[in-house]
Symmetry: D2
Subunit: 359 residues, 4 copies
């Protein structure tokens, strides 16, 4: 095992580099009987595709998914589901400018030190294309969660200093703008700011927020496989994520216990519910039945067009200007990746929980 | 597997409840030849012991560790190292006040829904005593890391609104105050604030920061087992943690790429190093050779003495006042737990990385 | 991980050496709600205890199990169940005769080469005492299987050339003789033979057979986690086992398809059953609903009193005579170990199978 | 996880059905720097291909492997190696004769009970085509073992009552006959017998033996991940295997300790070696430096042309005659599969063993 496996019950293994033949994923452990077709997966892949707006890279690849196994007569069979997306945009390029240079903010130096050499044609396994495999598997996980009445929705909460206004929050608005912000006004203001970033040959970070509704109580295992711990790993495993919060997150570190504790009460239907949700839907590492709220902080895109100082693998200090089109911000395209990783994590713990007590 | 296993190569399994016979851990995968004695472990356990100050719970248990296996003639043998701490403070108590009540901010409700019933005598597996097993295993991990020249040091960065001043930062000061703050002035001011919290029968959250020095380049696996993702899971699996950051963390979401990228350069010894460390020592999920910096946000202790409204398992709305002494803040005792989980994570990925390339 | 972990859902980790403080096991993943007490486990441990007859080693240790966690008010809580048996027979001995010698048929040489040194006081992790942990965990697995109507029974089928007669097979007879043979006559004849072995300072091998009744259809995962493959690993992991068979085993390699295929038919209750059971209850790696039949071949006890030639770790050829009492045959005490490993394997795959299809 | 994952360090996940789009495998954990090309893998795949002789099925598929990722400039990069073989022989057929019938000796009934329905077009995941993925991954494992000086060679030892004569054993002869027997005379005699089997519309079982040379001492983990236990699982996971032996296997159960113990001695070079090899190269679950010898017993091919009685999923007793060409014996094509599983197992434990002691 070397890092490309995720999950215990609903387990995936991903493969593929940005400049190889393609990227793919195999799911080992999807229950039999789930209706599934390529369109179910393609819908999710289309949401992460580059080239949808001027703020995303122009590389317009088809990214058509092919389901290779595990589905028969429109339903999953319980055997491994292999999926693949061929790389179609592999124009031969001149890599001489970057093949021996360590790009700042990238993993070039680490790859070379760890493995002895590296695929210098792009980010290799650190490329954003790697997330195609996550999203394809995540689409299946979302479909399985839907079977249990659980829905996962992420969106851009902020880009740089620009943030959505909770009073204007409208999830349906998210898909109407290329920034995936559920606030039309914020999206427009942010778009103007990003124009200035492009002009300045710079980039900026942002925050993605994700909500999970319909959770049963008790998903997540005590101690090490807590739901929040598992989500943290899942989200932090997405390239460029530098911070993770559940519920009030870092704000809870400044709160008092009397404020932060969520009061339980018995509602009109006799159900135990919480009055507030500072906990973000998780207590003791287990879902408590309320909405799960998580946030991921993404750093600015490290590839920027302005000249940067760095070193190369000949032991020289050099200056580089990274060519090609790069997103000035990564969060809009990361929204569906956050959904995918959230769904993959929840589905795995949900299935694991089926053995929590004797039936 | 139900959540009490951690690690792949250096793997631990923990057990024990707050009011059972004890807590313990078994390590399967510690290399042979490491000098180890009970004192090595006891030193770490003493750092998490309650009763060290008026801000920590008075339950003064011995918490003496016993190494049960895996060590022969003072060295690890390569076979499982079992360790146990007996619970000694098991005075029979009257649990009738809490046995059917869902304490706010606690996992009582989740445990009951998940397993059908629960050990109502304390937090069970959610008790702070569970961390004894983590710290015992972490002590061994720290000793193994030291063999490779790696050191792990955590401390309290803030409690409520009170924060250490970077200009006064002095790690050696950490062990001189019961709050484990590496800043004498901040510790004194915070202590006064905590007195007021106790008087108000309230609690408060805080932030623990952890530094790792001496890291080689390339620890961490691309994609899902990234070093930062693994650390996030490790730290978020500690009870009460609601947020995690690596390097600049959430601040990176507001930064520009031109600011956030760390410039590489060749130093006087011909070594490639970074000028800044916004990344917190990790690029592409692999250590980059600079200091690792991480932070964990802890929520306020949920057990507070003031009356709280809640529900019980008879479907009634009730009010409770949680008796007994409880820390008004959890972070001072959590410092060594953060070190333990950090060490366990790094040692596992370090050993895994030995197979990254052909020898 | 270094070999002392077993199972995925019902996962155990064992520890302990023959001459350390004790041996133990932790179970992570036993569902909540199973009635369990120490007597349940002790009953199984008593069946593997030495000193029950003149054919077993005289070391009469109490082997009293202590359940340390995971049980509350007589039922499992869903959290880890830790169990321990203290070593009580640790008289200080003179090991100078064997501490630098590689005993033939033992793992001394391998341990020393692999780990750099070894615990020379006994077999260490290769000691028969290691099986205490397996049997303790196996007792819990058997209790869980009983909840699902599944029973596991092993017995000695043969010792040397002496074999039970199928016509005299009577399982209830197994516990009436110290050889655990379900055939009184065969047990008596074999006992005489073993007297001669003791006189000759020699030992002999044997075969244990195990039957599993009450299996539902479909336990076992296709491809690598087939039920038979998992059982093979489980049984072969018991020290001294050199061969494994399911159903007709090696005899199937000489059979014709027309003989070996088990005919399906619909019985009087409308149920699909098999007329014969050459397959031993497993088809395509999954249980087929009929009785599971497996066999394990054990080599002769390697510790024999007669002088043997060997080498030591000073590079010298030497002669040794292994002192102390040793069983002339290992299979009678191995019967309960085979049951334990069979139960641990089936319970793990049974629980895993709960996610085979959508509910 | 549902059975299609194998290995811990050198981990593979396989996918694909006999009548789907293809079969494939991804390797996660192959060290970087191993020279690898498609020809390396194709050589192994060609050895399992059907249609090489009249005793193998006529389905002549190309089985051309495509390496999709993980190799750059002719060397493995340390990232996942995905490989795929497209199914090319998917003529539309009439499955009405078998789609609701449980073929004797096949897993049809188990699949249907476990998953609720099944892919009736062939064996699905139980098809012999599933082994393509094992062999492709095994080819990479063999190449990696060769780097460490380890070679793996299997051959047919017996078919029905026909067995190779040890006096005529010549491994180079193995590839000269379509039965993969390292004994020309035995191969000719067996071929005549198989002609009679075909005429009789029957099939027969056989035994494959596998030798591993060049093993270092100490590969394999004590207790559950013993080398022999791991090999047993690996080999028993191949369809149709009903028995497994290491070294003397079942014969050891009839032997005396004085015969079965292998004497150690110091050879002329000062090296500790064994005079005999009853143990088959493994002591205490670890390689002892001598040749590893294992055997697998395969049952007769269950698909036979003569009419058979069985049941269908409408609850009726029926008779079927399985059409199409089927091998009268499976062992010749299984030889390379046994090599593959042996290599995958050894390479995984070899890499795991790198952390056995401090470096």
């Amino acid at each position: 095992m070397a890092g490309s496996t995720y999950g215990t019950i609903f387990r995936i293994m991903t493969w593929g580099e940005s400049h190889g033949k393609g990227v793919g994923v195999t799911i080992d452990g999807c229950p039999a009987g789930l209706p599934l077709c390529e369109e179910d997966v393609q819908t999710y892949l289309n949401r992460r595709k580059p080239g949808q707006s001027k703020f995303a890279t122009a590389r317009n690849e088809g990214d058509q998914v092919e389901i290779l196994s595990g589905v028969f007569e429109g339903k999953t069979t319980g055997t491994p589901i292999a999926m693949m997306v061929r790389n179609t945009d592999q124009r031969s390029k001149d890599y001489s400018a970057i093949m021996d240079v360590y790009r700042p903010g990238h993993a070039d130096y680490c790859f070379e030190q760890k493995y002895g050499f590296r695929d210098y044609r792009g980010g290799g396994r650190s490329s954003a294309r790697e997330t195609i495999a996550r999203v394809a598997a995540g689409a299946v996980a979302c479909k399985l969660l839907a079977h249990y009445g659980i829905t996962v929705n992420a969106y851009v909460k902020s880009i740089g200093e620009f943030e959505i206004d909770p009073k204007r929050f409208d999830l349906s608005e998210r898909d109407n703008n290329s920034l995936n912000m559920p606030d039309k006004v914020a999206a427009e203001e942010t778009a103007e700011f990003l124009e200035r970033m492009i002009a300045a040959q710079d980039s900026v970070g942002g925050v993605v927020e994700c909500l999970v509704d319909g959770m049963p109580v008790g998903v997540g295992e005590p101690v090490f496989d807590k739901l929040d711990a598992s989500l943290a790993r899942a989200i932090m495993s997405i390239g460029a994520v530098k911070g993770f919060e559940i519920g009030d997150g870092f704000a809870a570190a400044k709160a008092l216990g009397s404020q932060n504790n969520d009061e339980f009460y018995v509602d009109a239907y006799g159900k135990v519910v919480k009055k507030t949700n500072h906990a973000g839907g998780i207590l003791g590492g287990m879902s408590d039945g309320s909405q799960i709220v998580l946030r991921a902080a993404f750093k600015p895109t490290p590839s920027i067009a302005q000249p940067q100082k760095t070193a190369n693998n000949h032991g020289e200090n050099v200056e580089i200007a990274i060519k090609g089109r790069h997103d000035p911000v990564v969060v809009p395209r990361a929204v569906v990746v956050v959904e995918a990783m959230t769904a993959l994590t929840i589905v795995d713990l949900l299935l694991m929980g089926k053995n929590a007590r004797l039936d």
